[in-house]
């Protein structure tokens, strides 16, 4: 009995905002892809987001995350994109093949081209008591309350006052979980002031210059020890849940396995596959988008997905180069604007540094070169 084989001209790994937008764009260009996702719902992390989104109309701004997810999924289905949920990609081999575990069994998938949109994973760090049940990622708590509609505990302390920490703390309150506070080692809130403001007006203190020291408890978390870094004193919070919101890192295992060159950029979450402005990696036929290509906002993920979809369609020869260039320019301009402002600036610079790393790909990494790409040289 042989391993079942399947092939598809374009495979997208990950049905989050980046993957779905890539699929939409490629489908519109005449290359409807096969999208794989290990989750049970399309939309990636959007499905657990219940706040209204920033960005512009093109990103569904003003709508709630799960609503955007639904729209993207139905948009894809309407364009003939096949989305297979509950499909785990077990490996992305150097010869370009994927090993996939889905309801049809484990099989080998031979893609013409592959867009990786595998997203990011929450960072964590070890500390005394971090293995106690009740200590979890902020995203895990968010998944529980918003997607599964279950509280992780009755009273929580949040670590990290970036956007994720602030938003999840607010959403825990919405679900009926008490939030004792948000602690942050830095001198300032890292996330948007509006998110901090929403939380403060609910009476949740944001304690700056406070460091997490330990989670305590016998069988589960019963309390958390925190150091006041200014006063050098220690406090004990009586909580049963400790959420960590200390950043996200690109999930680059598949890209690494494929042999994509990884670069380290702390502003974008750590190790990520090198890519040009059109989201091409240094491996022919392999594209990246979204948090995998650097942890940023969902709006950026969507536009990067569109670029990857366009580049894949262009390189596959189904999209007219002139039309592709025009569409890409438009998306690139928008991306430029999304990365404007004080929050986007460090990421914009990091992306610029990334794209200017030359000598990796023939065809250069400049913007125009990026658009021209490998047309006709498949």
């Amino acid at each position: 009995m042989k391993l079942r084989r399947e092939s598809h001209p374009l495979v997208v790994v990950g049905a989050g905002p980046a993957g779905l937008c890539a699929a939409l764009e490629a489908a519109e260009a005449g290359l409807p892809p096969l999208v794989l996702d290990e989750g049970s719902r399309g939309g990636g992390q959007l499905v657990k987001q219940i706040h209204r989104f920033f960005g512009s109309r093109e990103h569904g701004a003003g709508k709630r995350g799960f609503q955007i997810a639904e729209e993207l999924v139905s948009g894809c289905l309407g364009k003939g994109v096949e989305i297979r949920l509950g499909h785990k990609v077990l490996g992305f081999f150097p010869d370009g093949r994927l090993l996939v575990d889905g309801d049809e069994g484990v099989f080998v998938l031979q893609p013409g081209a592959t867009i990786l949109a595998t997203g990011a994973v929450e960072k964590s760090f070890p500390f005394p008591g971090w293995t106690l049940p009740g200590v979890m990622g902020a995203g895990a708590a968010q998944t529980l309350v918003n997607q599964h509609r279950v509280m992780p505990g009755k009273r929580a302390l949040m670590v990290g006052a970036g956007n994720v920490g602030l938003i999840v703390a607010y959403q825990l309150l919405q679900a009926g979980v008490e939030v004792a506070g948000v602690i942050e080692v830095n001198r300032a809130v890292g996330g948007y002031a509006v998110h901090a403001g929403r939380l403060r007006r609910e009476g949740v203190p944001i304690l700056l210059r406070h460091r997490l020291r330990a989670a305590e408890g016998k069988k589960e978390v019963e309390s958390v020890l925190v150091e006041d870094m200014e006063r050098g004193t220690w406090k004990r919070f009586s909580v049963d849940t400790l959420c960590l919101a200390v950043g996200m890192a690109p999930q680059a295992e598949l890209a690494a396995m494929r042999g994509c060159r990884l670069v380290y950029l702390s502003e974008l979450g750590g190790f990520l596959p090198w890519h040009d402005r059109a989201m091409r990696t240094d491996r022919p036929g392999v594209y990246v988008a979204g948090d995998l290509a650097g942890v940023e906002e969902a709006s950026v993920a969507m536009d990067e997905g569109r670029l990857a979809g366009l580049a894949a369609a262009l390189d596959a020869g189904v999209l007219d180069p002139g039309e592709a260039a025009e569409r890409m320019e438009e998306v690139m301009d928008r991306l430029e604007l999304l990365r404007g402002g004080p929050f986007g600036e460090p990421r914009r610079k990091a992306k610029e540094r990334l794209c200017s790393m030359t000598g990796l790909v023939t065809g250069g990494a400049g913007r125009k070169a990026g658009i021209r790409g490998r047309t006709g040289r498949r």
Binding site: M1, K2, L3, G91, F93, P94, R97, L99, V108
Partner: protein, 390 residues
């Protein structure tokens, strides 16, 4: 400028063979330097199973070498500071057809004639050793002296002890050239500098061919890929080593024991299973000549899993958490290449162990240290000479 060093003996290769040679040389008071291109156990020794299997050796010199080696393990386990997880757990060789059974019976007879304890098991008897076996299993042979060891711990333990006895280990140090003058080895040029030495041992595994070229000797060692699946950790479920008869077939090139279907034959598929001290099952394996590619492949992962289910259907609900591949330094006949080189004094070969490196490391260490220091060995190594191929 790189510094100039010197050493009584230079051992090229920090795998289990190099480490064992260094260890036994140090025990005799020699001054030893291990030159390792990458890190200790970074080649085949760090990407293999822990079989110390006797009944899979060819009756004759190969078996005698292995039996000698097996006797050295308990003492090593005692002497090394690292727990090498040595257990004389016994080994099963399972047959899935009457033809295979017949072949195993014949082999058992030959092995017994050489003094190895081997027992032929009927299908019903196999159940004494395993919770459950697949329907295809027709019986097998059992060798109580078969054992398992942690190959990485063994390598690291040998190297550590050698170091304590004065050996120097140069990691990340690549040999670039070997200088021979007046038919004698004089110097080893490395990326870390030159080493003056009149005795050089090549224990470079799959890199041996490259080393041989430096002294214009063809060392016929080719990398042979073996892939292995690792499962989640479980409470002890596998008391013994388990191998399928096809493992022996592909290993020793025995026609009667070759895998039946073409795909398995192409992969050189042979079943092996063992449970490590940490509780993981290691399931193998393949024999493929694909150059230096040590990636695992979808076909082999599937084939190994499928094969495992044939023999041990109860592994069905176990999670595979990792796979890895090692490159066995393979000689044309699957036996090690041990001994000196004609016309060049001070150069010794200890390579080509072809997947038996772990098992044969102690005896290789003892024998090569004797050869290097005394010029003669207590065990006849003539059958393992490089010149048997000519």
């Amino acid at each position: 400028m790189p510094e100039v060093m010197s050493s009584e003996v230079v051992v090229i290769g920090g795998g289990v063979i190099g480490a064992a040679i260094a260890y036994y040389l140090c025990r005799e008071g020699a001054e030893v330097m291990i030159v390792e291109e990458d890190d200790l156990a970074s080649g085949a020794s760090g990407a293999c199973d822990g079989f110390v299997s006797l009944q899979t050796k060819a009756p004759g010199p190969h078996l005698r070498l292995a039996m000698e080696s097996a006797q050295l393990f308990p003492e090593l386990a005692e002497d090394l500071d690292v727990d090498i997880e040595y257990r004389r757990c016994g080994g099963l060789l399972l047959a899935t057809s009457q033809e295979q059974m017949k072949e195993l019976r014949g082999r058992a007879k030959a092995l017994k004639a050489e003094g190895l304890e081997v027992e032929i098991l009927a299908a019903g008897d196999v159940k004494d050793f395993l919770p459950e076996v697949g329907k295809e299993v027709k019986g097998g042979s059992y060798c109580p002296l078969d054992a398992r060891v942690n190959p990485i711990s063994l390598t690291l333990g040998l190297a550590k002890k050698a170091q304590e006895m004065g050996a120097t280990i140069l990691r990340g140090c690549k040999v670039e050239n070997i200088v021979v003058t007046n038919n004698r080895v004089r110097e080893v040029h490395t990326t870390a500098g030159s080493i003056h030495s009149r005795r050089v041992v090549c224990a470079a595994g799959v890199g041996s061919n490259q080393i041989g070229k430096m002294i214009i000797v063809d060392v016929p060692v080719l990398p042979q890929r073996g892939q292995i699946l690792v499962t989640e950790s479980r409470e002890p479920v596998l008391k013994t080593l388990v191998a399928g008869a096809e493992y022996l077939g592909t290993k020793a090139n025995i026609q009667a024991l070759m895998p039946a279907d073409a795909e398995s034959a192409k992969l050189g598929l042979g079943f092996t299973a063992e449970q490590t001290a940490s509780g993981n099952l290691l399931l193998g394996s393949t024999r493929e000549f694909v150059g230096f590619d040590n990636q695992t492949t979808p076909e082999a992962m599937n084939a190994i899993a499928r094969n495992a289910l044939r023999y041990l259907p109860w592994v069905e609900d176990m999670d595979v958490i990792r796979s890895f591949a090692g490159l066995r330094p393979c000689s044309p006949d699957g036996l090690p290449i041990l001994g000196t080189i004609k016309g060049i004094r001070g150069f010794y070969l200890a390579t080509g162990h072809s997947g038996d490196g772990i098992c044969l490391a102690p005896v290789t260490g003892v024998t090569i240290s004797e050869l290097v220091l005394d010029g003669e060995t207590s065990l006849d190594i003539a059958p393992f000479s490089l010149y048997r191929f000519k």
